[in-house]
């Protein structure tokens, strides 16, 4: 019953402050640094990471499709796998984890990830808490277990901070839910009004069920008119602009930090 109760803004503020006191802001900085490092390492050590992941997705799709009985199930699985592939590729392009960044005002998408992440780390916390007394008892019998106790403590602290960070973001989102949702709807509506022809072309390209051909070939195969193509081009240019501005912002942020660090 308590969970269903809508909290007031003051109650949200209190909770947000509590999260801040528990180190959410500081931990967020660490998360960002780890994220940057993750993408740097991945691109250097595993340059074909996305391709390999896509292959894994294909294999998974094949397995799941074998189990399907109806055409609807097959369609759903194909859509789901295509979505996962796109999300994965987007992370690689923007060098941003989907769990911590809002893409084009899609706040509700982020909220789902935050809740999912929170559940994962809560599970981790429970496992660590259960393992801690067991490992401590074992360390009395054999010193080999002492490093494991230390590792478990670190893992527990990380999981705790992760849950705290997710809570911090969730409370901040829920506090301004109405405004955020309206903003999200407005952004979608703007695209609907201005680029609906372009959107339809892209959806035709996505729906073309042939993995052997490239995206450009897909575009050549579908039926389009001049108006649709112009809108599609506008959408592509808009995406290019967004990408460059995001990269600029990231580069500037890291540069100012570096300068700050030197002085």
């Amino acid at each position: 019953m308590k969970k269903d109760r809508v909290l007031t803004k003051e109650e949200y503020n209190k909770r947000i402050k509590r999260c801040e006191r528990l180190g959410a802001k500081q931990f967020a900085k660490i998360v960002k640094k780890v994220e940057r490092l993750k993408f740097k390492v991945m691109k250097k050590v595993f340059p074909n990471y996305t391709k390999r992941v896509n292959k894994l997705f294909d294999r998974r799709e094949e397995k799941l499709l074998k189990r399907c009985k109806t055409e609807e199930e097959r369609k759903k699985i194909k859509e789901e796998i295509a979505l996962q592939k796109m999300l994965n590729k987007r992370e690689d392009n923007y060098e941003m984890n989907r769990n911590y960044h809002v893409f084009r005002h899609r706040f509700s998408e982020l909220l789902n990830y935050l809740n999912y992440n929170k559940a994962v780390h809560l599970r981790g916390m429970i496992i660590d808490t259960v393992a801690l007394p067991i490992l401590t008892t074992l360390s009395f019998t054999n010193p080999i277990f002492i490093p494991l106790v230390a590792l478990d403590l670190v893992s527990l602290a990380v999981n705790f901070e992760c849950v705290n960070l997710q809570n911090y973001h969730i409370y901040r989102f829920e506090k301004n839910k109405d405004i955020i949702e309206r903003k999200e709807q407005r952004a979608i509506k703007r695209t609907q009004e201005n680029y609906t022809e372009g959107v339809k072309v892209i959806n035709k390209v996505i729906e073309l069920d042939d993995k052997t051909i490239s995206d450009t070939e897909r575009l050549q195969r579908i039926e389009t008119n001049k108006e649709e193509l112009i809108k599609l081009k506008e959408l592509i240019l808009k995406e290019k602009e967004r990408r460059t501005s995001t990269r600029k912002a990231i580069a500037e942020a890291s540069r100012t930090k570096k300068i700050g660090g030197v002085s």
Partner: protein
């Protein structure tokens, strides 16, 4: 949907009038799913109450303009573009350019033939 929307609107408006308790003129315009509310009378409380007059603008726009892409389609298309690498995006743009050029040439041919 439209009936449901107008019924909600009517009850909301009745509620507003009852809350204010004074003669107030409210005119509502629905243009492409957006609801504009103009009011006469200096009741600041009314502004706060009218914020509750929310009819999903997406549903309204889709209903009025069946040619509109759905919100899900928009999200999917945007995600698709975000997922393309820089090279893929550039080549898609190039292909679109070529196809536009092709359409232009066809139009010119048709005009010449005509």
């Amino acid at each position: 949907m439209a009936l449901e929307g107008s019924l909600t609107l009517c009850t909301q408006l009745l509620g507003v009038t009852a809350t204010v308790g004074l003669p107030t003129t409210i005119s509502v315009h629905d243009k492409q799913g957006e609801i504009y509310i103009s009011k006469t009378g200096a009741f600041t409380t009314l502004t706060a109450t009218t914020t509750s007059l929310t009819i999903n603008p997406l549903a309204a726009s889709a209903e009025e303009n069946p040619d509109y892409a759905s919100a899900q389609e928009v999200n999917k298309a945007e995600l698709y573009l975000e997922s393309l690498s820089d090279d893929e995006l550039a080549s898609l743009c190039e292909t679109a350019d070529i196809l536009i050029e092709g359409k232009d040439n066809n139009e010119v041919k048709v005009i010449k033939k005509g």
